[in-house]
Amino acid sequence: MKLYSLSVLYKGEPKAVLLKAAYDVSSFSFFQRSSVQEFMTFTSQLIVERSAKGSRASVKEQEYLCHVYVRNDSLAGVVIADSEYPSRVAFTLLEKVLDEFSKQVDKVEWPVGSPATIHYAALDGHLSRYQNPREADPMSKVQAELDETKIILHNTMESLLERGEKLDDLVSKSEVLGTQSKAFYKTVSTGPLLRAPLQRAVEPARPLCPLH
């Protein structure tokens, strides 16, 4: 059960702006880490750009689940987790983080901010604490506030894209990905966005099911 990244972004038009991010790439091999981090930033931005204001979604990409919450004021949060991590807790975390962020960082800074200019230091702590969902949020399963039926489910990153858009093109055009990362992406024949960490005796991956 793992969280890999937690990011705060601003959904500008047309691009999403990364304001602050925290990563836990310790489970990846040393030489993969910076690429993985870049891909997670790339993915987070892409997801926010393709999600409507006032929406929540979970996007599945291989072993990963990316949960996004875009507020009506265009402040957005993305958490990239594994498939074990309970989504309810992920959305609680996003709500909490964006609420805190909006109180600490002035609105005027959002459209033009960057991790270097934004003063918000709590993200690493949140990411670390929420690695254990039950300790971080023991009451989560009791909360009825979040209407889970409204969470949009995407079974692949591709389903976020416009007709005719290719992930490969977006990757090559990306300013967030370094040359090494782009080269790495090309060498993998099926072009998965993120390489899954070491396999273990897990349950078969299942497509996301809509809630009844």
Binding site: M1, E84, P86, R134, T149, L198, R200, E203, C209, H212
Partner: protein, 245 residues
């Protein structure tokens, strides 16, 4: 580092491929109990990983087979190969001093509570439901009237089922088969048909336990918002029904 420490260190890294191995083929009850408590956290943080729960099933089965049930008296299994220093000659002393008294029903109850807690907190993981079946069956086996048998149950197919056969390590000192380290390896095939016949003759699982399980299933179905969870709950119900036929 000794083997246990290495195993522990591996477990703490992100994704171990195999369950930790015990250093001995015949671990003492104390080691089994320690392992049960120390692996609880890992299992709860890897709820889609069968290996953690398989290991717990192995520990519980080992504890059951280490304990000969004779009426209401729990005696230590004389076949245990722990060095003599751990075993005082006087059995009563053994129960009260060197070896921890094992309350098997209580342990299994705790495991059921653990399972309930995980199923409620992390909906939609087949592993957790598989584990619950194993524990229920162990409880039934313990409460039942056949403490010395080898029993084998093929659970009803769950839809899209990947459930492995439930097989129990031989209990009691009179079976010819040595205790297996990996409890889920197949028992001898020739025993199969004999055992299924025996199973069909057994009395139904205790009805109170069954009733509680059905209530649990009802509670899950009425509150869950996850399609997979509902599917697993229904499959579990069907399996319980097969068990009592």
């Amino acid at each position: 580092m000794n083997q246990r420490e290495i195993s522990k260190a591996l477990m703490e890294k992100e994704k171990p491929l195999a369950t930790p191995l015990l250093t001995s083929l015949f671990p003492s009850c104390k080691i089994l109990l320690d392992e049960l408590s120390s692996t609880k956290h890992w299992a709860s943080m890897h709820v889609s990983d069968h290996s953690g729960f398989h290991y717990r099933q192995f520990l519980l089965k080992s504890l059951i087979s280490q304990t000969v049930i004779d009426g209401s008296v729990l005696e230590q299994n004389p076949l245990r190969s722990e060095p003599a220093s751990v075993l005082p000659k006087d059995e009563e002393a053994a129960a009260s001093t060197e070896e921890p008294r094992i309350n098997l029903p209580h342990l299994l109850e705790e495991e059921v509570e653990f399972s309930t807690d995980l199923i409620d907190t992390y909906p939609g993981h087949e592993t957790l439901w598989c584990h619950r079946r194993h524990i229920f069956y162990l409880q039934h086996h313990l409460n039942g009237r056949f403490p010395h048998s080898v029993t084998q149950l093929s659970p009803a197919d769950s839809p899209g089922g990947t459930l492995s056969d439930l097989q129990l390590v031989p209990a009691g000192p009179h079976t010819s088969q040595a205790m297996e380290v990996d409890g889920l390896n197949d028992c001898s095939k020739q025993g199969y048909s004999q055992e299924t016949k025996r199973l069909k003759r057994t009395p139904a699982p205790d009805s109170l336990g069954l009733e509680m399980e059905h209530r649990f299933i009802d509670q899950v179905l009425s509150t869950c918002r996850n399609v997979e969870q509902a599917r697993f709950a229904n499959a579990y119900r069907k399996w319980l029904v097969t068990l009592s036929q």
